[in-house]
Amino acid sequence: MDTTSSLHLAQMAFPDAVPAITLAHYLFVSAAMFTMGLVGFLTRRNMIIMFLCTELMFQGAGLALIAFGRHHLGADGQTFVIFVLCVAAAEAAMALALVVLLFRHKETLSAQAWKELNG
């Protein structure tokens, strides 16, 4: 088979250090992306950047879903990512409409300008 011969080639070129990617590698990257999205959402004060950070969290979740799908050799993970994408698109439309609306009221994108909403 073609694939096995190329695998042997790769092993010959790198005799003992053939890194196998585990599920944990992808989960680590996805968790780190999610964390950065969370930190960005908490710290940034520009409303557009805050929503962009939620998209970063969606990305982290999507990567985990695809990695789990590959791990179980099923297509369910990818199907879920389609729906995550769909929700992200809906969220982007709503969030940006909201941002434009809020910007028209106070002429600033700062989330701090809407402090009175925190009750």
Binding site: F14, V18, T22, A31, R44, Q78, E91, M94, L98, V100
Partner: protein
């Protein structure tokens, strides 16, 4: 099963990342931002190094060196995205993150989702974001070229937020790394992928027809439950002649190269067969989002009373005219 990363190294990475992010987040006269960026880069580098070293121990022959550049690119770009004071650059760095994670999707053999992500996320959603950023940001006057809005220049509680975020990361990863296993080899995956062909007998007919194997009145035998009579593991195909009522079996050497199920076949079958209701719900969500966005972002135009009256009169006249035209 061994853990991939020892907990000590993991916590070290988390602490380094938290310090780096907290230092690199934008604030006025930030002298520590470059040092923070370096600490963050070293945290990412250390994480990737330890992940790579941990992978060599598991010893399964699945070389995937491409994972590391994509991981570095994704993490570095997302770190730069949340620390860059200018919104447009943040959005561009997010596009870089998406493209890097698309690379990882390709490595996970989710080809369709990788390209769909480039088109939908980088091509549509992010461009909308960029559009709104440019729409809602006041252009800096030429006198203050380097002027950055207060909102973007000063982060809110960077230290506290970094601590919360990276404690979360530490907990998540410690919980996840107990007993991890390597991803199944590509050969397994091909077998699992091809099993979707069992459910698509018409597609099998079409492929065999194109490969010149079937004659006019032949087709693949359908089992009682409607699946095609294929043996995926043994690579045999059972074909019936509908006119003569004869059956022949093709061996593994006659299995055509084109008879395999790709990522798209599998994904499409899974989407349409296992989640039909979810598609409807997704459609409703998108419709509601579209309506909601239109309602939210429309502009209220305040008219004076006499203007309103004039408008109403004009509308009434034009309606009368159209009615007369209709009667004539």
């Amino acid at each position: 099963m061994d853990t991939i990363i020892s907990p000590i190294a993991l916590y070290l990475i988390c602490v380094l990342g938290a310090v780096g992010i907290a230092a690199a987040l934008p604030r006025r006269n930030n002298a520590a931002s470059i040092a923070g960026g370096l600490v963050l880069a070293s945290a990412i580098g250390l994480a990737v190094l330890i992940l790579g070293l941990g992978a060599t121990k598991s010893g399964q022959p699945l070389p995937n060196y491409f994972f590391y550049p994509f991981a570095i690119l994704a993490l570095g770009a997302s770190a730069r995205m949340i620390t860059h004071p200018r919104p447009v650059y943040s959005a561009l760095y997010f596009i870089l993150t998406i493209i890097a994670s698309c690379g990882m999707y390709l490595l996970l053999s989710a080809e369709f989702m990788a390209f769909a992500l480039v088109i939908i996320y980088a091509g549509a959603i992010l461009i909308t974001y960029l559009f709104v950023i440019m729409l809602a940001t006041q252009a800096p006057s030429s006198a203050a070229e380097a002027f950055i809005d207060e909102t973007d220049a000063v982060a809110r509680e960077p230290v506290l937020a970094s601590i919360i975020g990276f404690v979360l990361l530490a907990i998540l990863t410690t919980a996840m790394f107990r007993g991890v296993s390597t991803l199944p080899a590509p050969t397994n995956q091909e077998l699992a992928q091809d099993s979707v062909l069992l459910n698509l007998p018409t597609k099998v007919d079409r492929i065999l027809d194109r490969a010149g194997i079937l004659t006019e009145s032949e087709r693949v035998v359908r089992n009682a439950d409607g699946t095609a009579a294929l043996d995926i593991a043994a690579r045999t195909i059972t074909i019936e002649n509908t006119d003569l009522n004869t059956i022949r079996v093709l061996g593994p050497d006659q299995w055509p190269d084109t008879l395999n199920a790709g990522n798209l076949d599998r994904l499409g079958y899974n989407l349409m067969h296992d989640h039909p209701m979810t598609i409807e719900i997704a459609g409703i969500i998108l419709l509601m989002a579209m309506l909601g966005a239109t309602v939210l972002a429309r502009k209220h135009i305040e008219l004076e009373d006499d203007l309103k009256a004039a408008q109403a009169r004009k509308l009434g006249e034009s309606m009368d005219q159209s009615m007369e035209a209709g009667n004539a």
